[in-house]
């Protein structure tokens, strides 16, 4: 698989973008709408004209048409061919390059098994669920053994559950095939879970590139910090190891269990979106379940930000508007707070 290198690429909003994707790497392009993520994918795929240069393994691709770059591009809206069955969709790339029908059928069968599509091969896309369509689109994209795979927010239209399952599937697929992959998203969780490295984009320029933890924990500039979201950062008074890679830390009156291996934890951080609120005590023994009082509510377009006073700390929580309405949240109300164990980051320094 090639390394992909963009040098001074300009197109629309993108200005002189330099970016390198290593051989077999999974790079996540992260940024809000209109930051130029999709444009960069189109440039790599050769589907639009651009200034600057694109290199695969040091070979300039600017003059190579899209159909010969061996780059599979999976656009946001999937665009499975509606007039072809699942089988025909998956085999499209193979048929077009003139593979013998027997080989095509073999490869399609292999992908059907890989993506768990058995029993669906003769259906048309209109007869599939969102998750199934997604898997077919992925199978179609990797069928011709591309050298580079470009995925444009492939999970944004799916429900959370399905998206989560598919995320694991995509990562598995990448590890299996080792295809150099560029994945576009505006979802932090996705970026963190999938990416070997994350590149944060803002109005057409790359703000920071690095492993997810580096980008999330030490944003390079204000813009990145703003996009990542201001995490809750709590200082720890003590740190007791509990074994099995978890420790208990004390932050004022809260005893919080966090996954950690190594030296004493000095600080912990978690995103407001990883703080869950409920009106009733969560059933069963729950780690990291606390009681708190809402100090302030602040509504944005689709979220409500709640500041909570909780065991002597002030925590920021983000809940979807619907949930807020359901819980009937209001200032001064007492609620139960759950911190998602796996999403708490620890710092020793």
């Amino acid at each position: 698989m090639p390394t992909v290198e963009l040098r001074a690429v300009s197109r629309h909003v993108c200005k002189e973008v330099d970016l390198e994707v290593a051989d077999g790497e999974f790079l996540v392009l992260l940024g809000p709408n209109g930051s130029g993520k999709t444009t960069l994918l189109n440039v790599i795929a050769g589907l639009v004209s651009y200034r600057g240069s694109v290199f695969f393994d040091g070979v300039c691709m600017d003059k190579v048409p899209a159909s010969r770059r061996r780059v599979s591009y999976l656009p946001q809206d999937l665009v499975l061919f509606p007039h072809m069955t699942v089988k025909e969709n998956i085999g499209y790339g193979l048929r077009m390059r003139g593979d013998p029908p027997a080989d095509t059928q073999c490869r399609v069968q292999e992908l059907v098994q890989l993506m768990h599509l058995d029993g669906l091969v003769n259906r048309y896309p209109s007869q599939l669920s969102g998750g199934e369509k997604q898997r077919v689109a992925l199978a179609r994209a990797i069928a011709p053994s591309p050298r580079v795979l470009l995925l444009d927010e492939p999970l944004s239209s799916l429900d959370l559950q399905t998206a989560k399952r598919l995320r694991a599937e995509i990562r598995r697929l990448h590890d299996l095939t080792g295809i150099t992959t560029v994945y576009v998203t505006h979802n932090l969780e996705e970026a963190e879970e999938l990416g070997d490295r994350v590149a944060v984009l803002h109005s057409g320029t790359v703000q920071q590139v690095g492993p997810p933890t580096t980008v999330f924990c030490s944003p390079q500039n204000e813009y990145v910090a703003d996009f990542i979201g201001s995490p809750n950062i709590l200082e720890c008074d003590y740190c007791h190891p509990l074994g099995h890679g978890v420790v208990e830390v004390g932050c004022k009156e809260l005893a919080i269990v966090v996954p950690h291996d190594g030296n004493s934890v000095k600080r912990i951080a978690f995103l407001p979106s990883d703080v869950y609120l409920t009106a009733t005590p969560p059933p069963g023994p729950h780690v990291n379940g606390f009681e708190g009082e809402i100090i302030r509510l602040q509504e944005t377009r689709d979220l409500v930000r709640a500041s909570l006073s909780c065991g002597g700390n002030v925590l920021l929580a983000e809940v979807p508007r619907a949930v807020c309405a359901e819980l009937d949240l209001e200032e001064g109300k007492r609620v139960f707070v759950i911190l998602k164990l796996r999403r708490i980051r620890t710092y020793e320094g």
Binding site: L47, D77, V79, F81, P82, R97, P144
Partner: protein, 203 residues
């Protein structure tokens, strides 16, 4: 007038419709695909076509009578003109309205431009093409009747003119019913074909 006369005239009308309509729509679809796919072809043909399209097909009859003569070819040419333009337009706009993202995906999957045209663009334009054909199949009968009434001694239209001369209202009404049924059947035929092709993938 025995029913044999009606069938005879219907048969000659039917042959004219089929010949004119098939030729007109075949050329219309072919050129329409080219016009929708290649902007250059569109630029070239569009001014010409917008000049001729507004002329009603019947309006060509006087000129055609001089050019083609008064024979079977005349109504066929009129039907050709009548079918050609609308089918051309619906095909071209159907081809043009195929979502660019399908084309991009096909391109990135390694398909050549010609492959993209025939495996993706034309199949996806089929619903529009069928709509054009369906509307024109009925229209062909309307134009045919007019052409036969004016210019040709055979066919349903001509039969009606003869019946009028004999003041045979019953024959005129039978002819009108036959025309109506043929219009209806032609449209239904294409509706059926369209459903057959498209329904399986529209879910």
């Amino acid at each position: 007038m025995a029913s044999g006369v009606l069938l005879e005239n219907l048969a000659s009308s039917l042959i004219r419709v089929i010949a004119g309509f098939c030729a007109g729509s075949a050329v219309g679809i072919g050129l329409g695909i080219l016009m929708g796919w290649r902007a250059k072809v569109k630029e070239l043909l569009h001014p010409l076509i917008s000049l001729f399209y507004p002329i009603p097909a019947i309006g060509w009859i006087p000129l055609l009578m001089l050019w083609v003569g008064i024979n079977d070819l005349l109504p066929i040419v009129v039907i050709f003109i009548c079918s050609f333009f609308p089918v051309l337009y619906t095909t071209a706009s159907g081809v043009r309205s195929v979502d660019q993202s399908y084309i991009r995906v096909a391109r990135s999957l390694g398909a050549s431009e010609r492959q993209i045209l025939f495996t993706v663009v034309v199949p996806l334009a089929l619903p529009s093409i069928f709509t054009g054909l369906r509307l024109e199949a009925g229209m062909a009968w309307r134009v045919l009747a007019a052409a036969e009434m004016i210019a040709i001694p055979t066919g349903i239209g001509a039969l009606m003119v003869k019946a009028q001369n004999l003041v045979r209202m019953d024959i005129i009404i039978v002819c009108l019913v036959v025309l109506s049924v043929m219009c209806f059947l032609s449209e239904k035929l294409f509706l059926y074909l369209e459903r057959k092709v498209v329904s399986k993938w529209e879910g």
